[in-house]
Structures are given as structure tokens and as C-alpha cells.
């Protein structure tokens, strides 16, 4: 029997690092185990868009709460995290999409978030590279962008300052009843184990169902000022929500470096990590519909990653019903960078037996298991 820990966090993506960050405020002996580099899985394929999403009350509550937590952390983050208040510009492709913009604005404003409807002219002024004559858009100024891998590392670094230990290059093969078995056979015990293994969470906890959903990213050379906000088509949610085999939506982000990071695609193709050139071509075509000159920009790299996807599109955050020592913090799909810190806070609340600022019940692993 190995050392006794208060909590073992399995997985050093941004969600696991956030769990370690908040758990280490309450607990002395926290251990985080990661088999690869910190933030090297889905985190490294995340755009780093910290965004409040209005697609369901639960998702809104989680993203909104998490964004508030990020805003509190931003002044403390180191330079490498590159937090920038770019805002999100939801772009309407046609009048039909534009007709829903006011309702969307009202929802944000009613919930205390600034939101502004832009007409054709003001959209053109705000984003000169967009196609002329688009009906308009919705600006959410409080949304922001960070560099995910550095943010994950920073969260973990803070946890380490509070005494959290980190084990790298080890994978956990089994976790049950407060015992985590490492690949080399070592068994570590803890009062709590958090499964934050992201897209691999199901292999550690088979009763939760998390599937990898592949995404492609494209990054260009440096074009400072080409876009100013994170630009997202209003049809994005449709693409994210359709559990179809394959979907593409326009999503362009200005990086701190002046590079443009271009998404997004969603595919259920298992763990196939090849670059799908046909899909990349679709992404470029889609982007061209909004940014006609983008095809002239130099691309320097394309890559893929996998989102941890649950069947009800919400992350699983909470105790596993079958194991009182086991918590799950996984299944964040395309919102893990945003929702990591709220997830960490909820996990810490659960372990401490505290109430949380938001309703935890929609994320309880039972709902994921039942689906």
C-alpha cells in the first residue's frame, strides 16, 4: 500500500489542473498524475476561448460562473497565459439568423452580462475583414482568450505552491474505492480520487460514457489586426449540438501573436488522428464565406485533437454513485478551457461538503450514466 493522499487527481489537462488548484486550497496532500505533458491532450487542441454559452440553462450557469472565476484569476496569471479580452462576435450569415440576435442579447443582458447588437455598418467597422453586407452580429465583450497549455501549467503550479505533488509519466490503470493502481503496479490510496482523464475518462471509469469527438485546427502566420474578436457563426451551436457524424462551423480567433486560429470541425471517427484534408478544405470554405480574403493568408500548421463528449452535451462533475470515494470531472466537449475552473471549484465544494454557487445536479454523473 502506497502513501495516503487526501486526493488523487488523475489527468493533467486543464480540468485536472483546475481540480488540483481548488482541492489544494482545502486539502494538504493532493497528488496529480499525468502520463504525458501537462495540457498535452484535448487542452492542446483547445482554442482557449473563454465564452459564456446560452444553449441550455445548465451550460449557461457553468460557463458564466467559470468565466467569473477566470476573470478573478486573470490579474494573477503569468505572461505565458496571454489572457486577452477580445470579446466574442457572433456573426449572422443571413436575415433569418439575425432575427434571433435580439432575443439572444436580451437573454445575456437579463442575466447580467453586457451584450450589444451590431448592424451591418457597425459590424463592418468592428471587423473590416468580414464579408461586406452581412446583416449584423452580437458582441459579447466579456468573453476572452487564453493560451490553454500555459494556463493549465499555471493552475498546477499554484497548486504545487500549496503543497500539491505531481507525478508525470505515469498512467493510472485502475481506480476504485480510494485506490489508484499505476502502470508499474504501485497502488496509491487516497480519501478521494478524481477522474479528470478527459477523453480517456471512460477507460478508467467504464460506467461513464465519454466518446472522443475529433476536431481539426488550422493556424496561420501572423496577421495582427486581421480579426479583432473571436468570430463565431451564429450557427455554431447547431454544429456543436448535432450529434451527426461530421459537422463544420466557422470559428476564427485572433491569437496574442497575431496569428489566426481557425476552427472548427466535429467528427465521430474513434481515435483516428490523421489530418482529414477534405474536412480541412470544408473548414477553409466555410471560413471564406465569412472572411473572403482568408484563403490568401499563409497557414503554417494543421492539427487534430479529441473532445471528451457525453451524450447530453454537459460535463460530468460529481461523485460516482457506485463509489463514494470516486469523483468524475470529465466530458467537457468543446468548452473545457472555459469550464475548467468552475469544475475544479465544484469538485472542491463536493469534497468539502460545501454548497456551490450554482446548481450541481445537472452535472451529476448519474445523469450521464443514465443517458
Amino acid at each position: 500500500m502506497g502513501q495516503n493522499f487526501d486526493a488523487i487527481v488523475v489527468g493533467g489537462g486543464i480540468v485536472g489542473c483546475a481540480c488540483a488548484y481548488f482541492l489544494s486550497r482545502d486539502l494538504k496532500r493532493v497528488l496529480l498524475i499525468e502520463r504525458g505533458p501537462i495540457g498535452g491532450g484535448s487542452t492542446a487542441a483547445g482554442m482557449g476561448h473563454v465564452v459564456v454559452m446560452d444553449d441550455s440553462p445548465a451550460q449557461f450557469a457553468l460557463t458564466n460562473y467559470s468565466q467569473q472565476l477566470w476573470m478573478e484569476l486573470y490579474p494573477q496569471l503569468n505572461h505565458a497565459c496571454e489572457p486577452r479580452m477580445t470579446g466574442t462576435m457572433w456573426v449572422a450569415a443571413d436575415e433569418e439568423e439575425f432575427s434571433h440576435v435580439e432575443g439572444k442579447r436580451d437573454f445575456y443582458v437579463k442575466n447580467g452580462l453586457p451584450a450589444e447588437v451590431l448592424d451591418t455598418k457597425s459590424l463592418e467597422e468592428a471587423e473590416p475583414s468580414l464579408r461586406k453586407g452581412l446583416p449584423g452580429g452580437l458582441r459579447i465583450p466579456q468573453d476572452s482568450v487564453i493560451y490553454p497549455m500555459a494556463a493549465a501549467q499555471w493552475l498546477l503550479g499554484q497548486a504545487q505552491l500549496r503543497g500539491c505533488t505531481v507525478m508525470l509519466g505515469q498512467s493510472v490503470t485502475k481506480a476504485k474505492n480510494g485506490e489508484a493502481t499505476l502502470q508499474d503496479g504501485t497502488v496509491l490510496s487516497a480519501r478521494y480520487i478524481v477522474n479528470s482523464a478527459g477523453d480517456h475518462a471512460s477507460s478508467l471509469t467504464p460506467e461513464i460514457k465519454i466518446e472522443p469527438r475529433k476536431g481539426h485546427l488550422i493556424i496561420t502566420d501572423r496577421y495582427p489586426g486581421y480579426v479583432n474578436h473571436q468570430l463565431v457563426e451564429l450557427g455554431y451551436l447547431k454544429s456543436a449540438h448535432e450529434m451527426s457524424q461530421e459537422s463544420v462551423a466557422f470559428n476564427a480567433q485572433p491569437r496574442a501573436t497575431g496569428q489566426i486560429l481557425l476552427g472548427s470541425s466535429r467528427q465521430f471517427v474513434g481515435w483516428n488522428d490523421e489530418i482529414d484534408r477534405a474536412l480541412i478544405a470544408k473548414m477553409v470554405k466555410r471560413a471564406e464565406e465569412y472572411l473572403p480574403s482568408i484563403s490568401q493568408l499563409s497557414v503554417i500548421r494543421t492539427w487534430v485533437g479529441f473532445r471528451a463528449t457525453t451524450s447530453n452535451k454537459l460535463p460530468l462533475i460529481g461523485f460516482l454513485p457506485s463509489d463514494p470515494k470516486m469523483l468524475v470531472a470529465a466530458g467537457h466537449e468543446g468548452l473545457g478551457i472555459t469550464t475548467s475552473v468552475a469544475t475544479g471549484m465544484l469538485i472542491a465544494d463536493l469534497v468539502a461538503g460545501r454548497p456551490s454557487k450554482i446548481d450541481r445536479s445537472p452535472f451529476a454523473p448519474t445523469s450521464g450514466v443514465a443517458a
Binding site: 501549467q153 488550422i218 481557425l262 489530418i275 478544405a281 477553409v284 484563403s295 497557414v299 494543421t302
Partner: protein, 424 residues
């Protein structure tokens, strides 16, 4: 619109290996393509004045043209979108080329190791400065320090002298014992002896064995360099520093195609075929050996790719030159002092402005890259990748398309080729 051409043999790179491969693979009725990113064939070795073909290869190029070999000059391969298909960009246009057999003769590039001041203007590569002079840079009366390692230092020192430069010193990091042993070895490679003697006659007095550039300084551009032999240092005022630590193979395309790479070189069998069926590799990517070995390997790859047997004489000659290649490696092996040249604030990755101090202390190269973006800039690690492999023992990073920055429109190219099927 043109038709899709499927090449019987497609050759990437028109340096010594690529030209030799094309000579061996081309015959009437065969569709052979020769792609090179420069505006004229010849590669680094046979680089002529801008856009021209060097005399020593002009008859071979004419032969290839006569045999109907289709040349793609000024074309760069940037992706392998499907099996047996490469994407090239040429003059702002995008095309795909299909092939039955592929010969990778993609050459090597210079190895740059960071030292304080290495990013100053007028600090450049050894072959790099030579290429610039061939492209028209006037070095008459300029004070130049040539430094680094390898036979190229002498050749370029001699070249610069002929163009009127004042070569102040040739700092060769290899110790003198290695150089003496190597010159004895040259006796068994008769073709190299005359060359060596003439170079030593020209710039021999400038050679400083066991010496390297410790730092370079200047306000706006290079002003002086400090040479070190580990015991004493000397400052030399100069206008240019040409510095490179030998060559590293261009592995990007072989890796993208899935060719097995070991100890930094593409693995090939006796027919020059790589671990990927129908993909051959010749020249520097299989081991740095210079023009003679490259030419032989190109010839062999050309024969086998064209499904002909290769004369035994050629195979034997290759094996002999492989020994020469090994001796080169041993002679010019990099000394460990070079790993200590970069100071903590020396920039290692110029694209992302990552300094030496940021790169140490990570548990893996991938962790360091994710956190610092080292090697993720426009050059995709072409410069800092080989340096970090030497300095920090990092492994080669994953190769992801595109191989070179291309307009996004290039990624959209779905349907192939706008080239005409050759007439024969």
C-alpha cells in the same frame, strides 16, 4: 484544364542525387517528373548564378529534357494529401502530382547552433553566405570570419577569397588530430585529394582547428566575433560571419510520408527503398556523405525505381563512399563545449522568440514546446529543431501539413493536377 498525370517515377529534389536519379530512371515511354524548389536544377551544390544552370550539369539537364522528363522548377512540395500523391506549389498555383514510385532526394540544410549574437544581421550560414554571393551579394573587400565545422568551411573560404573578400579566419571546431587523421584517410578517396590540396593552398593559413565562435556582437549589425579554443579567446572585427555546424537532413517530407527514421536519418535498404513501399530516398537524408555518395545513391534509386537492376559496380562504389561518410561524421563530430555557448537569454527559436532559459527544466520536449511554442512558428522548427536535438537531446517533432507555409487556398485543393500528360 489539363489532365492528371501519373508519374511512373517522381523525383523530389534536383541536386546531385535527384539529377542522378532522373538520369537512371528516365527512358523513352516512361513518365518521369523532377521537382525542385529552386528556379533552376542543381541544388545547393550546383547552384549557379540566379536562375541559371551550372555548366557542369547542363548536358545532363539537356539529356533529361530530351528524354521528356518533366521539370517542375521553383516548385515546393507542401503536403501528401492522399496515398501516392503530393501537393506542390509553384508560382502561387497549387497542383497535385500522382506517382507510382517516388524518389526523395531532398537534401540537407545547415545546422545552426545558438550563441550570443547569432541572430545579428550579417551573421549567416556558410552555404547561406555562398548562396547570397551567387545571387549577387558583393563581398569585395569585406572582412569575413568563416566558422563551424566540415569540409565546406574551406571550400567557402576559398570561394569568398575568389570573390575578393578578406577571409580573416576559418574556425574549425574539430580538433587538429581529427583533421590530420582525416587527411590521411583522404588518400584512399583519390578524387578528393586534389580538391583538398588546392583548398589548403588557397586558405590553409587561415584555418584554426579546435576553435569556435563564442559570441558575436554589434549594435545594429555584426561588428566583431570572439573566437575561443577553450583556453584563450580572441576578438576579430569583421563584416560577416559565416557559421554553420555541418548539415542536417531535410526529414520533413520523409516523415510526413511515414518513412522510418533512425538516429536522424532515413532508413533505406540496399535498393535505397525506404520503409514505405515504392518510396526511395537518396543523398543526404540517408546520411551526410557529400556529392559523390549522393550521386551514387541517386543512380541506384533511379535504377530500382524504374524496375531495372543496378550495375554492381555502382552498388559497391556506394558502399565504399558510405565509409567515407562515416569518417566525415567521426572527424567533424560536434564537441560538447558547443552545447554551452547559448547564454540563458540567447534566443533559440527565432520565430517564437523563445530563449534558452525557457527551454530547460521540462520533463519532455513536447512539454517544453507546448509551454513555450518553441518550434511552432513559421519555420516549423526547421532551424531550432536540429539545434534543440543537439543541445537538449530533444526528439524530432511531429510533422504536420503543410510542410511550408502556403496560402489557406492551398489546403482547399481537392482535385488533382493541371499538368499535361507528356506526349510519348
Amino acid at each position: 484544364m489539363g489532365k492528371t498525370a501519373k508519374f511512373d517515377v517522381l523525383i523530389i529534389g534536383a541536386g546531385p542525387a535527384g539529377i542522378a536519379a532522373a538520369m537512371a530512371a528516365s527512358e523513352p515511354g516512361k513518365c518521369v517528373g523532377l521537382v525542385d524548389e529552386n528556379s533552376a536544377p542543381g541544388g545547393q551544390i550546383y547552384r549557379a548564378l540566379k536562375g541559371q544552370i551550372q555548366n557542369s550539369i547542363s548536358s545532363q539537364i539537356k539529356t533529361l529534357d530530351d528524354r521528356g522528363v518533366i521539370r517542375f522548377d521553383g516548385a515546393t512540395v507542401y503536403d501528401a494529401p492522399r496515398p501516392n500523391t503530393l501537393s506542390i506549389t509553384k508560382g502561387g498555383e497549387f497542383q497535385t502530382l500522382e506517382y507510382e514510385k517516388l524518389i526523395l532526394a531532398v537534401g540537407a540544410r545547415e545546422l545552426f547552433l545558438p550563441f550570443p549574437g547569432w541572430t545579428l544581421p550579417n551573421v549567416m550560414g556558410v552555404g547561406g553566405l555562398q548562396a547570397l554571393v551567387k545571387a549577387g551579394l558583393d563581398v569585395k573587400g569585406k572582412r569575413i570570419v568563416v566558422a563551424g565545422t566540415g569540409p565546406l568551411l574551406l571550400a567557402v573560404g576559398d570561394f569568398l577569397k575568389k570573390y575578393g573578400a578578406e577571409v580573416l579566419a576559418i574556425a574549425e571546431q574539430a580538433p587538429i588530430v581529427n583533421l590530420l587523421r582525416f587527411s590521411t584517410n583522404l588518400l584512399s578517396f583519390s578524387s578528393k585529394i586534389g580538391q583538398g590540396i588546392s583548398l589548403i593552398g588557397s586558405v590553409g593559413t587561415k584555418i584554426r582547428p579546435g576553435t569556435w565562435v563564442a559570441s558575436a556582437s554589434g549594435t545594429r549589425a555584426l561588428n566583431s566575433v570572439i573566437l575561443s579554443n577553450g583556453k584563450t579567446t580572441q576578438e576579430l572585427e569583421c563584416d560577416y560571419l559565416a557559421c554553420a555546424y555541418g548539415f542536417v537532413p531535410n526529414l520533413e517530407l520523409p516523415l510526413l510520408l511515414g518513412c522510418a527514421v533512425e538516429d536522424g536519418f532515413v532508413q533505406v535498404d540496399s535498393t535505397q527503398q525506404t520503409s514505405v513501399q515504392n518510396v526511395y530516398c537518396a543523398g543526404e537524408p540517408t546520411g551526410i556523405g557529400g556529392i559523390d555518395l549522393s550521386t551514387l545513391e541517386g543512380t541506384i534509386a533511379g535504377y530500382f525505381a524504374n524496375q531495372n537492376d543496378c550495375p554492381t559496380l555502382v552498388l559497391k562504389a556506394r558502399d565504399r563512399w558510405k565509409l567515407f561518410s562515416k569518417k566525415l561524421d567521426a572527424t567533424f563530430a560536434l564537441r560538447t563545449e558547443l552545447k554551452e555557448l547559448a547564454s540563458p537569454d540567447t534566443v533559440v527559436c527565432r520565430c517564437e522568440d523563445v530563449r534558452m532559459s525557457q527551454l530547460v527544466g521540462w520533463e519532455s520536449s513536447r512539454a517544453a514546446k507546448l509551454q513555450t511554442r518553441c518550434g511552432m512558428g513559421a519555420c516549423q522548427g526547421r532551424i531550432c529543431g536540429p539545434a534543440t536535438r543537439f543541445l537538449l537531446n530533444w526528439e524530432h517533432g511531429t510533422v504536420r501539413p503543410p510542410l511550408i507555409p502556403v496560402p489557406l487556398a492551398g489546403l482547399e485543393t481537392r482535385t488533382s493536377a493541371v499538368i499535361e500528360q507528356p506526349e510519348n
